[in-house]
């Protein structure tokens, strides 16, 4: 499976729209840079999902929720999009090396096709990880040595301490 970070409200269908269509706002979430779009590979058993979410949360200035869409490689084939391994920019160097990919050679047509294909998957493909869950994943990643605590933003460290402390993590 492939994970792409999104902002769920971009995908809300306005009243009266046909299911399967997508508001133009979804393109905000699929806007390539240099023809490339960053994605993460989720193992079939989703065993690395928590670590990926921690990696995504690790570079932020605050602990916040993460919205993402999960889709299969079939979607790439349908839309004639190719992916390639690329180093990720998170504070989890292991995750960066193992699970980060870029969708490459993205043209307007391919991006639009991807948007339509993802929208057609419906709202079940879009997931929200609450800030509490992000905190837990981050705490776990730090505990397991995947992410060095000192690399996190001080605000994240403080919040992490308060959240995990409250929950006895």
């Amino acid at each position: 499976m492939i994970l792409r970070k999104i902002d769920k409200p971009n995908w809300y269908l306005p009243d009266g729209w046909e299911c399967g269509d997508a508001p133009g706002d979804v393109l905000r979430d699929l806007c390539p840079k240099g023809g490339r779009l960053s994605v993460w590979i989720v193992e079939d058993d989703a065993s690395n999902l928590g670590r990926l979410l921690a990696a995504l949360g690790s570079t932020r200035g605050n602990i916040d929720h993460i919205d993402y869409v999960l889709f299969s490689f079939d979607v790439l084939r349908q839309t004639d999009i190719v992916d390639e391994k690329a180093d990720g920019g998170s504070h989890d160097s292991g995750a960066n090396a193992r699970w980060h990919h870029d969708l490459i050679d993205l043209s307007v047509t391919r991006v639009a096709a991807l948007a339509a294909a993802l929208a057609a998957l419906g709202d079940k493909s879009r997931v929200r990880c609450s800030y509490r869950e992000v905190a837990e994943h981050l705490a776990a990643a730090v505990d397991e040595g995947c992410i060095q605590l000192e690399k996190l933003n001080p605000a994240v460290r403080a919040k992490l301490a308060s959240i995990t402390g409250e929950r006895g993590l």
Binding site: K8, P9, W11, Y12, L13, D15, G57, R60, G61, N62, I63, D64, H65, D123, R126, R128, S130, Y131, R132, A155
Partner: protein, 455 residues
């Protein structure tokens, strides 16, 4: 633009008195512009042998008598109730503080003086470091101390052209402890003929105890006057006519927005709003003045303060449209918002709420701000932020409803549960309903965890 000497002042004064005398208004009849010119602490300070303040005050009284200007006896001003007089007085002060004082300069220093109701701002106003305007707002407009005064000093010649070319005069109102005499609070180091071109509507009022009061003023002694002998001395100045400057000034002051570090008229206005309630209760208690009337008096001040704050919020939102906003990344918008919150507290929250509810601006920015409202750590405004977020659960925009729910999640206050339940019940976007439900469950868990164990 030129400096004026004391001799010149006296010459002009004598000439003016003579001219007034020929108008049949009496030898001691003066116009306020003249008084503004003759008197002033600056002249007094610089020429101790000219007792400008007491001198002019006496002449004011004489002039008022001669020209049939209103005098205040306890409770009445020529048949008008005291509160009506005070309303007028206040409005004129609003004019003075709200319109006359415009700054384009960079703030060099701002400090709250030891007296909690004083504000001193030194603003640079020009390219040279020595070009600055010093504005001292004493008494902070708090009538609780029965005194307020506005003192302005132009220490260099232009670039302060707007102030110098418009009317520049002092304003001081003393109701009890006379710290600075009428007109004595203002001094002009520069003077220009246009000063006299705008007539300054005078108002001089004093009670039956005026002789005692004047004696005290003449010697600058502090005196206490019982409430039933309420005395008011006032010279008002006319509005400042520089409407064209407003936009430029707002842009220059607010454009580089660091509200917490800016001293603008906005701050002055808001400081009045801050003290308004206190004043209201004080006046009501002290003089038994109708609270509704006093509340009405304060309304224009509140409105101006609110309008100014809304203007600032608008600028912040606009800056957000050009910023790549991500909730979890602190950027210029969140720093500006923090500064606003730090400076204006709950009023800032109200202004943000109002701006969002107008539906003006970018909904992405509004959503960002709502999420920020939930996240920011500010216990003082916690309840207000809760209310705003709860309110926005009913927004027409699903994006804002989502942001409000996320904000409430971050706020982590079980009081939001009932609002969220209601929102979940009415939410027609399935995906959003589900996300709201998750927040609801999360808060319910929090509440259960906080509940004391049942034995």
């Amino acid at each position: 633009m030129k400096s004026i000497s004391v001799q010149k002042v006296m010459e002009t004064y004598r000439a003016a008195v003579a001219a007034q005398a020929t108008d049949g208004q009496g030898a001691e009849c003066l116009t306020i512009p003249e008084l503004a010119m003759y008197s002033g602490g600056g002249l007094t300070d610089r020429s101790p042998h000219v007792d400008a303040c007491g001198f002019c005050q006496r002449n004011l009284v004489s002039w008022a008598r001669a020209s049939g200007r209103p005098t205040l006896t306890t409770g009445r001003v020529h048949g008008a109730p005291v509160d009506q007089f005070l309303t007028t007085l206040w409005e004129r002060f609003v004019e003075l503080a709200g319109r006359r004082i415009r700054f384009e300069g960079e703030v060099l220093a701002r400090k709250k003086a030891d007296r909690s109701d004083s504000l001193r701002a030194v603003l640079r106003h020009g390219d040279e470091p020595s070009d600055y305007v010093q504005l001292v707002l004493e008494g902070g407009l708090r009538l609780t101390r029965n005194h307020f005064a506005l003192k302005m000093r132009v220490d260099r010649e232009p670039p302060l052209a707007p102030l110098a070319e418009g009317e520049l005069a002092g304003f001081s109102l003393s109701l009890k402890g006379i710290e600075r005499l009428v007109l004595g609070s203002v001094w002009l180091d520069t003077w220009s003929p246009p000063l006299l071109e705008w007539p300054l509507p005078p108002a001089l009022v004093c009670s039956d105890g005026r002789e005692r009061w004047l004696t005290a003023m003449g010697t600058n002694d502090e005196m206490v006057i019982p409430a039933h002998e309420l005395e008011v001395g006032c010279v008002t100045v006319h509005r400042f006519r520089y409407p064209d400057l407003l936009d430029t000034i707002q842009q220059s002051v607010l454009g580089g927005l660091i509200p917490a570090e800016s001293v603008t008229e906005l701050d002055l206005l808001l400081s009045r709003v801050d003290s308004a309630d206190e004043e209201l209760h004080h006046w009501t208690a002290q003089w038994g003045v109708d609270e509704q009337v006093l509340s009405a008096m304060l309304t224009p001040i509140r409105q101006q303060g609110r309008a100014a704050l809304l203007g600032t919020v608008k600028v912040v939102f606009r800056s957000g449209e050009e910023e790549e906003l991500e909730t979890a990344v602190e950027g210029g918008v969140s720093r500006s918002l923090e500064a606003l919150l730090g400076t204006h507290g709950g009023q800032a929250v109200d202004a943000i709420s109002e701006h969002i509810q107008w539906g003006s601006g970018d909904s992405l920015v509004a959503a960002y701000v709502l999420k920020w409202l939930g996240r920011v750590n500010d216990p003082i405004t916690h309840d207000r932020r809760l209310a705003v977020l709860a309110d926005c659960l009913r927004s027409r925009s699903p994006r804002l409803r989502d942001a409000a729910a996320l904000g409430l999640d971050s706020l982590d206050d079980p009081r939001a549960i009932s609002y969220l339940r209601e929102a979940v019940r009415h939410e027609h976007v399935a995906e959003l309903r589900e996300d709201m439900g998750s927040v609801l469950k999360s808060l319910e868990r929090t509440r259960r965890a906080d509940d004391p164990p049942q034995n």
